[in-house]
């Protein structure tokens, strides 16, 4: 409900005032209707992007935290974000010049990078034959992240000045997607991921307690873990390639939701997806309006708003 309301209301506010009546006034041709263009070209895709990215990152966060049994796990933990970043960096510095159905090279390369990282992590998890030591997976993920980040910095370092600026800016995240094709492109892997994650709540409950007890309850732990890993990574890859790495949502939103609805994943999963979407839409709204007419990168706002809010939740309970 909250998410829906937020998504309905958010496009109405922005860094410039618009008249709603004129937005939907079909007597003015669309090409001349500034208000309509602001609404449909600038704001609506942006709000939708925020919702998709927020939802994807929060879901991925919930899954990774349960899967790795680690409260500090996040969509970045297993190297998928770093892979996505590397893809984007390469596309920017090599001036990659291709597009598929209206999606430009940078997000495509970024998604390819996230898939590459996923293949590596998946390969590692499949190669790890005995036992289900999530610690190994966690360490492999952290190492892969460090490795890929080093390559990202190397690419940045070798790039010339304007490219370095572009890559740095990309790493700050941005939701101003300015058209619909990137949204549609991100929606496909996100939908897949959501379907995968939706099948998991009971298993996640058991796995987060312990793999042995999960196995004792008749759960095919290995297969479930794989499904969780792939789904969460797909969601992360889609989100990061759409908006760049947006900090904070993937690690803190799951905790916020757990503080409110409890630890049952049947509630946590849908609540995190919806709250993540609403949270990022609101943060982006603040980013767009607080310093109008100038706008801020949303990643700054997610932490500035989310941080104190989370601390309040945490200490109110304690």
């Amino acid at each position: 409900m909250l998410t829906l309301a937020v998504c309905m209301l958010a496009p109405l506010a922005g860094s410039s005032p618009i008249r709603l009546r004129q937005v939907f006034d079909s007597s003015i041709p669309f090409t001349d209707n500034v208000d309509a263009q602001i609404f449909f070209i600038a704001r609506l895709p942006r709000v939708l992007a925020a919702a998709l990215v927020g939802c994807g990152l929060a879901l991925a966060g919930v899954v990774f935290q349960a899967l790795l049994r680690n409260p500090l796990a996040s969509p970045d933990t297993l190297g998928v974000s770093a892979g996505a970043s590397l893809g984007a960096m390469l596309a920017i510095t090599l001036h990659a010049d291709f597009s598929i159905v209206g999606v430009s090279a940078v997000p495509l390369a970024s998604f390819a990078g996230s898939l590459g990282a996923l293949v590596i992590v998946y390969g590692l998890s499949a190669a790890r034959r005995r036992g289900t030591t999530t610690t190994v997976l966690l360490l492999a993920g952290v190492t892969l992240t460090a490795l890929l980040s080093a390559v990202v910095r190397f690419v940045q370092f070798m790039a010339d000045f304007t490219e370095t600026f572009q890559t740095t800016r990309w790493l700050m995240g941005s939701l101003d997607v300015a058209s619909y094709p990137p949204l549609a492109a991100a929606l496909a892997p996100l939908t897949l991921a959501t379907v995968g994650i939706a099948a998991l709540p009971r298993v996640l409950d058991l796995i987060s307690v312990g793999a042995e007890s999960a196995a004792a309850r008749g759960v095919n732990v290995e297969a479930s873990e794989r499904l969780a890993l792939v789904s969460a990574s797909l969601a992360t890859g889609a989100a990061v390639s759409l908006a760049g790495p947006v900090a904070f949502v993937g690690i803190i939103v799951p905790h916020m939701v757990r503080l409110v609805v409890g630890a049952d994943h049947r509630l946590v999963v849908p609540a995190a997806g919806l709250f993540g979407a609403a949270f990022l839409v609101v943060c982006d709204l603040v980013a767009r309006t607080v310093l109008a007419p100038v706008e801020l990168p949303v990643g700054i706002i997610t932490a500035i708003i989310g941080g104190p809010f989370f601390l309040w939740l945490l200490f109110r309970r304690a």
């Binding site: 860094s15 001349d32 263009q37 920017i92 001036h95 090279a105 304007t162 800016r169 941005s174 997607v177």
Partner: protein, 300 residues
Amino acid sequence: MATLPARVKRRFIVVCGAVLVLASTGTPAQPRDPATSAPQRIVSFVPAATEMLFAIGAGSRLVGVSAYDRFPPEVTKIPDVGGLLDPSVERVLSLKPDLVVIYRSQADLEQQLTRAGLPLYTYVHRDLADVARTMRSLGERVGEAAAGEREARRLEAGLSAVRRRVAGLPRPKTLLVLGRQPKTLRQILASGGYGFLHDLLDLAGGADVWSAVKRESVEMSTEMVLSQAPEVIIELHYGREFQPGELEAERRVWDTLGAVPAVRNGRVHLLVGDEFVVPGPRIVAAAERLARTLHPPMAP
């Protein structure tokens, strides 16, 4: 394996020797007053200063230039000493310069070179007036005060000529785009109401949409472009070669925003050239190109 220690030892001696040689170059053999003697071996980390040195006839004294230097063509033959963020102190020292031109923001480099006893010229650039100012002071510093003064005047005269030509003409609301993500309208970086590009636009007869925001650059969302409604959009491309088709494709990216007057009236212009980002002698040419773009009837 037995040869390894010997090799390591040899390498150690070589390194020590190199350190000694480098250290000895740090203190000039005969102490002299850098203010009175004209430097003969100049290293420049600043492309604008490099171009100025060439303009005042001191180009042949350059022994090292930055990784970003591309103009005049002769600079490609001069050794490269690194860029703004990755200067190579080692290469600078090995060139035995008697003057090094650095950016003020290169604080680490400044410290290291000062410790090595090298005379420095610290380059600052803020607005358009700084270009002629730097030309004069750099001229004095390298013992070419008269040439510095001459080139500074030529530059000022060139800029005034552009200003006079556009005086009285209508000043279109202009958005000056410095960069964005290729092929999309994401992360549009525009010139703010401060700095030499803003001044250049103003001089060339454009009303900068961000005059009121006193920053060098402003990042814009599509919403901001729509609400600012610029009558002309000038997008600068620099740093490499562009295919004609590539530029046309980049121009068409703006067509999404049909409600922006500049887009509707076909006044989105892409200008390619490093002269827009190097505040040196070529800014007169940059100003002329901006003026011609803003006021097409005046094209020769």
